[in-house]
């Protein structure tokens, strides 16, 4: 934990003792309590208080971003406390480059959503649930103890269940039940995996039982076959949460019926619980099993990309279309993660953040459109652009980012994923690229039908984006453009942790496995780069991972070249 010490030295003395992670988790909870104590009749105050507490947590997450030592690959801001000492359960939390941006995303997206959307009825419970949800999401991302992770992973279901069920539209109860049961079924087996892992690890290693993911991962003592089974238990939980095809069927229902805030949070933060889980509790805990099952997940990821895109094209409901586009985007993340190289994982991680921003913004816009027109049917909308030009402009930007237009954030992640996947498994990447084209197809087509064409009937009276709404969505737009033009600050903070993860995977897989890496040192063009890589692979040549560090700067250059074409 040298990085922790370093960061503390650099900071003020007061920062040293400040419990950053407990504050992150506690502030929204305190907020929930305070909101709960305010009488129901005073509607306005609930929202203000909720935004205050949620925003304070967001500010702390930004502070973590500032204080974060970007050269340290380990966990920073570590918070540790015995919980149930007898069983080896502790409160162990920390932030590394992998979780940093997910925490910041959670910190910022929640207050924005609270400001942006008015629930319409029952303000008090609505904001209480949102605050609890924020606290739970923080908990999942920072937890380094398997028990603590599971507890937070499960608890987020409850607020989301009520948000969908009570404030949702249409068939909300069905969607809420489906969401809860699907996710719980997935995590049921994860619990069995966790207790089995801890029990076997204690037995095989002869140490006292511990739930610390770092302790277990660094000294994994269980057999290969067992590890593979345990990995499957974890993977199922994450696959449902992501969701990976064919376990995705809860997602369109939940997204479509959820209230706007629910959709934004679901897409922006909660889907990342699964993809993040794959990194921390799949690759890190079970490197060998991850490598063994990688082809399965790569294939499912690619199926998700293409399937999500094709189904999205067919949708008549705008919100459902965005929901299916999530399936496709998350397919990219899975593809990148299981490429098992720095580019792929980094791309997947960047894609998590970018998808959170872009799809969150898309759901927000669709929600505002619904508030104006009381319909989400694409066929009933049309020509909105004339009535609401600013709205249309903002929508265009967000949509282009979701498509992955170079210069906007979506491109960075998708490109890195495809690069990583191409190096590792060429044909999967080739098929996945089709998904990029399809994304352009369904989003542009939907845009055309909704915003272009003759303005008829009620569509002519659609109010334009209000100043307030503009203020709310502005941070997301800034994020979209900034991360698209200058992703370096984000990527360089992720890099040390990801390199460490990849090294861990290499060591864990053993044998002649090395990270599939493109060596770009002397290569002039992209195709040369690929050739050299394959030559290297055929020779089973070993390489040091320092290559990875050099790669990234080059990759960005390549990215621009590709984009320019």
């Amino acid at each position: 934990m040298s990085g922790f010490i370093f960061a503390a030295e650099a900071a003020e003395a007061s920062a040293l003792s400040f419990p950053l992670i407990p504050a992150l988790i506690a502030l929204p909870l305190i907020g929930a309590l305070v909101v709960g104590l305010i009488p129901t009749a005073r509607d306005g105050i609930h929202q203000q208080l909720a935004v205050l507490f949620s925003g304070a947590a967001g500010a702390i997450s930004v502070w973590a971003l500032v204080e974060f030592d970007k050269t340290d690959a380990g966990f920073q801001f570590v918070s540790q406390q015995d919980w149930v000492a007898d069983l080896g359960i502790q409160w162990l939390a920390g932030i590394d480059g992998i979780t940093l941006f997910l925490v910041v995303l959670t910190g910022l997206l929640f207050p924005l959503t609270m400001v942006a959307v008015n629930p319409g009825h029952d303000h008090k419970p609505y904001f209480i649930w949102l605050l609890i949800l924020q606290s739970g999401c923080f908990g999942v991302f920072v937890a380094l103890d398997l028990f603590m992770f599971f507890v937070f992973f499960e608890i987020v279901l409850v607020p989301m269940y009520f948000l969908i069920g009570k404030w949702g539209h249409g068939n909300a109860k069905y969607a809420a039940n489906k969401f809860f049961l699907f996710t719980m079924a997935g995590s049921a087996l994860m619990l069995v995996s966790i207790v089995t892992l801890v029990s076997l690890q204690a037995r095989e290693s002869g140490n006292a039982a511990t739930f610390s993911v770092v302790d277990i991962a660094e000294n994994l003592a269980i057999g290969q076959g067992t590890a593979r089974w345990l990995f499957l238990g974890f993977a199922l939980a994450f696959a449902v949460k992501v969701p990976i095809f064919p376990l995705h069927t809860w997602l369109p229902d939940a997204h479509t019926e959820a209230p706007t805030a629910g959709s934004v949070i679901l897409a922006g933060v909660m889907l990342k619980l699964g993809t993040y889980g794959f990194l921390r509790f799949g690759l890190y805990l079970f490197p060998e099993a991850s490598n063994y099952f990688a082809p399965v997940f790569l294939t499912l990821g690619v199926i998700g990309i293409v399937y999500g895109a094709v189904v999205a094209t067919m949708q008549k409901d705008l919100k459902r279309l965005v929901a299916y586009s999530s399936v496709a985007h998350l397919g990219f993340i899975v593809l990148g993660t299981f490429s098992l190289n720095s580019q792929g994982i980094q791309g997947g991680l960047a894609q998590m953040i970018n998808h959170g921003i872009s799809t969150g913004a898309l759901f927000l816009l669709v929600g505002w459109l619904y508030e104006r027109r009381h319909t989400r049917q694409i066929a009933e909308l049309g020509g909105i652009q004339k009535a609401a030009p600013v709205f249309a402009g903002v929508f265009t930007l967000v949509m282009l980012s979701s498509i992955g237009l170079p210069g906007l954030n979506g491109f960075v992640g998708e490109f890195l994923v495809l690069l990583g996947a191409f190096t590792a498994h060429r044909w999967w990447a080739v098929v996945a690229t089709v998904g990029v084209i399809l994304a352009a197809l369904y989003l542009l087509w939907a845009y055309q039908r909704v915003f272009h064409g003759p303005t008829e009937g009620d569509n002519a009276d659609t109010p334009d984006l209000s100043v307030w709404e503009g203020v709310v969505i502005a941070p997301l737009l800034v994020g979209i453009v900034f991360l698209g033009l200058y992703p370096k600050p984000m990527l360089e903070r992720m890099e040390p942790a990801i390199d460490r993860l990849v090294e861990h995977v290499e060591a864990g897989v053993g044998g002649d496995f090395t990270e599939p890496v493109p060596t770009v040192g002397e290569s002039g063009t992209f195709s040369e780069l690929v050739e050299t890589t394959h030559a290297e692979h055929e020779e089973h040549g070993s390489h040091s991972d320092e290559h990875g560090d050099e790669d990234h700067s080059d990759e960005e250059d390549h990215g621009d070249e590709e984009g320019g074409e």
Partner: protein, 518 residues
């Protein structure tokens, strides 16, 4: 027992030593019950109506307090200063006092206090007020203590009967409701049959081992290799049927839904908490503690029972529409979880069962408290549609019920989650991975049941949005002080031990049963 027969005839009948201190909680509870009966018989007209519930609560508290020094003594290791520390037995080795039995004593004392507080208002509301309920409940709970402390199969049977007969009457207590009569009758007929089976099991075990004393049976089983153990195994089977009936394990569960639906709601709370706990106490004492050396013979049977109980309890619950029936099936599936812990046949497994029973007792009493209040006079309006919108009309009741339902579903930060987690880890430690998987999948199915109730109270019943109706509905469900205390205690227990389970775990671990001679 045999020793007594073998002794030469003397003029005086030898009486065993009695360690009164070890019997103190039991004496307070059962003596308190008999005393109450005497007082109200003699001075019926002079007793104010608040006397009986207060008296019962005080007796319950006294029982619990009397158990504390005992707890400190039996969980300590013997030392030079206190050579008497550690588990001991009395009454000629037929009554064991160990951490296990004292743990259950305290649990029963808590259940008596809580159910008495709840029943006070209920009995008045239903106009069936009287001391009988309290007397029977205290007697039944003392039967539970006897079961949890029994070091002899005959004593175990006595405890079982004291426990059961009182509950048969309590189930039929609501004399104007035909369903209550039916419940009592059904429970009695089937319960008597299961007691008979249990007694036959004792007879066969005695035939195979030559003793009814658990210590002697254990000695016999670990020292003697039976060439033909058919008799013994038949005894095991019959004993298991007896216990299985009381804990509502499938396939001996068929009485549960009908009895839970028909019996007065506070009685159901008592049955689901205390009766189940007592039966599991007996099961652990007999099977894990005494027949431990034959675990390879009974473990697979309990494995099968656990799977059947989990699956039937959770799947059949889905199609129910009556809340009490739903909770009946839920109690069946909880029995399945507890069997998972029993099946592990380890000290840790036993500790998980104790933790689970304590957590479940508080959750289920809390749930039935809300149901008692929400279903209104006559115990009749118990369908899902009757309680629709409860959280809207009575937010406090709605939130409390939600906590209990989430707890029973095993959602984190409730004691119910930790109970499930703990049982599953015991199963994993014992290499019963298949059972752990089935148990967790059953939990998902069971979660649907709790979601349905939660959905009914939170999301349905929007038609009551009219302010005057809302006000009327609110006025319709007063929360009496007794029930309020119960709710505060049970919600507190569920949340505190969900957040910080360590003290409870340590207690459950200290409460490992021991067979002592004395």
């Amino acid at each position: 027992m045999l020793n007594i027969l073998a002794q030469p005839p003397t003029d005086a009948i030898p009486t065993p030593d009695v360690a009164w201190s070890g019997l103190m909680p039991l004496l307070i509870l059962s003596g308190g019950a008999v005393l109450l009966l005497t007082i109200v018989s003699l001075a019926k007209d002079f007793i104010p109506r608040w006397f009986t519930p207060i008296y019962t609560v005080l007796i319950g508290i006294a029982t619990g307090v009397a158990a504390i020094p005992l707890w400190l003594r039996v969980t300590d290791t013997p030392s030079a200063a206190d050579p008497n520390n550690g588990p001991f037995a009395t009454l000629d080795s037929s009554f064991g006092v160990d951490g296990f039995s004292v743990f259950f004593t305290m649990l029963f004392a808590a259940v008596v206090v809580l159910v008495a507080l709840l029943a006070n208002d209920y009995l008045r509301r239903e106009d069936i007020d009287g001391p009988e309920f309290y007397v029977l409940m205290m007697l039944s709970a003392s039967g539970g203590i006897v079961m949890a402390s029994a070091n002899d199969l005959i004593v175990m049977f006595l405890g079982l009967e004291i426990l059961s007969i009182a509950v048969y009457v309590m189930a039929a207590m609501h004399s104007r409701r035909i369903e209550s009569q039916e419940a009592g009758m059904k429970y009695f007929v089937l319960g008597a049959l299961s007691s008979a089976v249990f007694l036959y099991g004792i007879a066969l075990t005695y035939g195979a081992t030559g003793s009814t004393n658990l210590v002697e049976i254990r000695e016999f089983l670990s020292n003697v290799i039976l060439l033909n153990d058919a008799l013994l195994l038949a005894g095991f089977a019959l004993l298991l049927v007896g216990f299985g009936f009381k804990v509502a394990a499938v396939p001996f569960h068929s009485w549960t839904p009908d009895v839970y639906q028909g019996a007065p709601t506070p009685v159901v709370g008592f049955m689901a908490s205390a009766v189940k706990a007592a039966a599991f106490a007996g099961m652990l004492r007999v099977f894990w503690l005494t027949f431990g050396s034959y675990r390879t013979d009974w473990q697979p049977v309990i494995y099968g029972l656990a799977i059947a109980t989990l699956l039937v309890g959770s799947f059949v619950a889905i199609v129910q529409t009556d809340v009490k029936r739903m909770l009946a099936y839920s109690s069946i599936s909880h029995a399945g979880y507890l069997l998972v812990g029993v099946q592990a046949a380890t000290n840790e497994g036993t500790a998980t069962v104790l933790f689970y029973l304590a957590a479940y007792a508080f959750m289920v009493i809390g749930s039935f408290t809300v149901i008692t209040l929400a279903t209104g006079p006559g115990d009749a309006k118990t369908s899902l549609t009757d309680i629709a919108g409860l959280a809207r009309t009575r937010p406090v009741l709605g939130i409390a019920l939600t906590v209990f339902l989430l707890g029973q579903a095993g959602v984190p930060f409730t004691s119910g989650f930790f109970a499930k987690f703990y049982v599953i880890s015991a199963a994993a430690d014992a290499n019963s991975y298949g059972l752990a998987i089935v148990a967790m999948l059953a939990a998902v199915v069971a979660a649907f049941l709790y979601l349905r109730i939660m959905m009914a109270i939170w999301l349905d019943g929007d038609e009551v949005a009219d302010p005057t109706e809302l006000a009327a509905a609110k006025a319709g469900i007063p929360v009496p002080w007794g029930a309020a205390v119960v709710l505060v205690v049970t919600v507190g227990f569920t949340l505190v031990f969900g957040l910080w389970p360590e003290p409870m775990i340590e207690m459950a671990r200290d409460a490992v049963p021991a067979l002592a001679i004395g």
